[in-house]
Symmetry: C2
Subunit: 325 residues, 2 copies
C-alpha cells in the first residue's frame, strides 16, 4: 500500500518511522503547510507542499492526516476525504459524532473511505471498552490514564506568568486500580482516580509560591485533582523530561452465573515510551485495513469499531487462522 | 435475537445464564442428545431432543453449539451449519484450518453463517494477539495461562491408578511475566513460563509416592513442567476446588522510532471465576454479531478475527460513537 503523511510534527514523524517497520507499506511523501524546503524528514522521504496534494491523487492509497484535534482535523479530514482514503487520530471525544458526520458525507462524494479517531484513546482503548462490555453484560467499565505526559495540561501550565517550561504527568492512583480489580465496582471521584505531577522551570526571580497556587487551583485542569508541583532546572527538564511516555488501563469487572455468583476481570494495559510513535503505529495498521476495505468497495466514514481485527494484519486470513487464532 | 443451545453441560448452562443478562436475546430452548425429560434446566427453559432440531429451523436465529472439541464439534458444527447460523468454541488450535474448511463448505450450502472458536483462547486472546502484533510490527508475543483449572490435565491425573479425584491448576511464573513486561524479549522454555499444581484425592491404601511420580513424569502433560502434587481429602476437594477459575495474559512488547529507541508494552489480562460462564458470555456476544451479519447477507465460516467489534454490542453504531469511542 502507498501511504502519504499530511502534517509533519511528532505524529507525522512517528508514521514515517512506523512505515519502515511494515514491508507492505511504502511512503509516497510528506505533505506540509510549511515551505517544503524548510522541512527535513528523518528518513529522507520527499516533502511536498500541501497545496499540491491533488496532483498526487492517483499515487496515494491512504493518506494519514497528522494534525491536531482542536482546529486542524475538523477542517482537514472532511476536505481531504473527498479525494483520498484517509485516516486520522481525532481525539476530542465529545465532538466525534459531528466529525463523523462531516467526514462521512465528504468521503461518500467520490466513493472514498475514511477512518477517524484511530489512536489509542479514542482507538484501541475504545475497542477494548466495547469488547469487554459486550461480553460481560452485567458489569462496570473503568479507564485510567498514565503514567504519562498530558500535552494539554503541560501547555496550560506554560501559560502561567513566570513559567519558562513545564511538563505535566497524569498518574493513576494505585489504590483505585486495586479497588477496581477487586471487582467491588467502586464509585470513584476524579480525585480518587488520578493525581497530577507538574515539573516546572520558573523564570529567574518568579514567585514560586504563586505559580504553585495558580497551578493547583486552575479550573478544569487541576482544581479537582491532587497536584504536586516540582520546580526543576532547565537542565533537569531537558535530561529527565524530554520524552512523551503515556499509557493507561481499561478495566471491566462483571458478574455471571444464575445469581451473579462468579466475578471476572478484563484488564487491558498500555505502557508506552512514546505516545506519538505508538499512535502512529496504530494509524499505519488501520491504514492497511482501510486500504483493504476500499478494495472491497466499502465507502464512507468508519471508526475502529467497524474494522475486523484480521484486516489490520499483514498476514493473510489463512495464516492468521493457522498461527494467530 | 432468538438463540438456542445445543448440548447442555457446563458451557450450555453458562449460555443459559448469559442470555438472561442480554435483554435483546431470547432462548428458544435447549437441545440435548440425552432423553429430554431427564434434563432439568437452571431457568426452566424448555428441553428438546437433538433429533428434532430441524423442526425448529425457522424459530432459531443462531444456534450455540456447546460440545467438546475432541469429538463433538468436528462432527456437529459442519452438520448443523447446513441448516442454522451457528457459533461454537472449538479450541484445538492445530485443527482450526481443517474445522474452518468443513464448516465453511457446510454453511455456504444453504446461505448460513458460522463462527468457530469464539471462546477466550482461541477467541478473545486471539484478537488481542492480532491487534498487538499488527500495531507493534517489531516485537514479540507472549501468552500465559492461569492461574486456572485445566480440565484435560485434571482428567489425565484421574486416569492414574489409585487416584479417586484430581484437579490440576496451570500457574504462570511471575518472574517470567516480569521479564516479558520489561521488554527484554526473553526466550522462555515451557518450564520457565508455567508451573503445574495437582490436588489429588488418593484411594485408601494407594501408593502416594508412585502416584506423585507417575504424574510428574507423564509425557506431554507434566514432564516438561515443574509440578507440585498435594494429596487432599475428598472434603477438601469439594470445599476448595469445586470451581473452574481460569484466565491468563497476552503480552506483546515492541519497539518504535527511527532506531527502535522506544519500547512499548501491550498487556491483556483475564481473571475469571468461571471459565465456562465467561466463554458462554463471549459466545452470546458473538452470536449477536453473527445474527447481524446474516441479516446483511454474509455467509460462510468466520472467526473472531472477521468480526467488527461494534457488531458485538447491543448498542447502535451511533450510541457506540457517542459513548464508547
Amino acid at each position: 500500500m502507498k501511504l502519504a503523511i499530511y502534517g509533519y510534527g511528532n505524529l507525522g514523524k512517528g508514521v514515517e518511522c512506523a512505515v519502515k517497520q511494515n514491508p507492505d507499506a511504502e511512503l509516497v511523501g510528506v505533505f506540509t503547510r510549511r515551505a517544503p524546503e524548510t522541512v527535513k524528514t528523518l528518513t529522507g522521504v520527499l516533502v511536498y507542499s500541501a497545496q499540491d496534494i491533488l496532483k498526487y491523487k492517483d499515487a496515494i492509497d491512504v493518506l494519514i492526516i497528522c494534525g491536531g484535534s482542536a482546529t486542524d482535523l475538523p477542517a482537514m479530514t472532511p476536505v481531504l476525504a473527498k479525494d483520498f482514503n484517509v485516516v486520522d487520530s481525532f481525539d476530542t471525544h465529545a465532538r466525534i459524532p459531528e466529525h463523523f458526520a462531516n467526514v462521512d458525507a465528504a468521503a461518500k462524494e467520490n466513493g472514498h473511505i475514511a477512518l477517524i479517531s484511530a489512536g489509542w484513546d479514542p482507538g484501541i482503548f475504545s475497542l477494548n471498552r466495547v469488547y469487554a462490555s459486550s461480553i460481560l453484560a452485567d458489569g462496570a467499565d473503568y479507564t485510567f490514564w498514565g503514567r504519562g505526559v498530558s500535552q494539554g495540561h503541560s501547555d496550560a501550565v506554560r501559560r502561567i506568568d513566570g513559567v519558562k517550561d513545564a511538563r505535566q504527568y497524569t498518574v493513576p492512583v494505585e489504590k483505585a486500580l486495586e479497588q477496581v480489580r477487586s471487582g467491588s465496582n467502586p464509585t470513584l471521584t476524579t480525585r480518587q482516580k488520578h493525581t497530577r505531577e507538574c515539573y516546572v522551570v520558573a523564570e529567574e526571580g518568579a514567585d514560586r509560591a504563586r505559580i504553585e497556587n495558580e497551578i493547583k487551583t486552575m479550573p478544569n485542569y487541576f482544581d479537582e485533582y491532587d497536584t504536586t508541583v516540582y520546580f526543576i532546572s532547565e537542565e533537569e527538564m531537558k535530561r529527565d523530561h524530554a520524552e512523551l511516555p503515556h499509557g493507561g488501563f481499561v478495566i471491566r469487572t462483571g458478574k455471571t452465573g444464575l445469581n451473579g455468583e462468579h466475578r471476572h476481570v478484563i484488564e487491558y494495559r498500555l505502557k508506552l515510551d512514546s505516545n506519538p510513535e505508538f499512535t502512529a503505529s496504530a494509524l499505519v495498521a488501520f491504514a492497511r485495513a482501510i486500504n483493504r476495505m476500499h478494495e472491497r468497495g466499502v465507502t464512507g466514514c468508519k471508526t475502529v469499531l467497524d474494522i475486523a481485527p484480521g484486516d489490520l494484519s499483514p498476514l493473510s486470513p489463512e495464516e492468521l487462522r493457522a498461527h494467530m487464532l
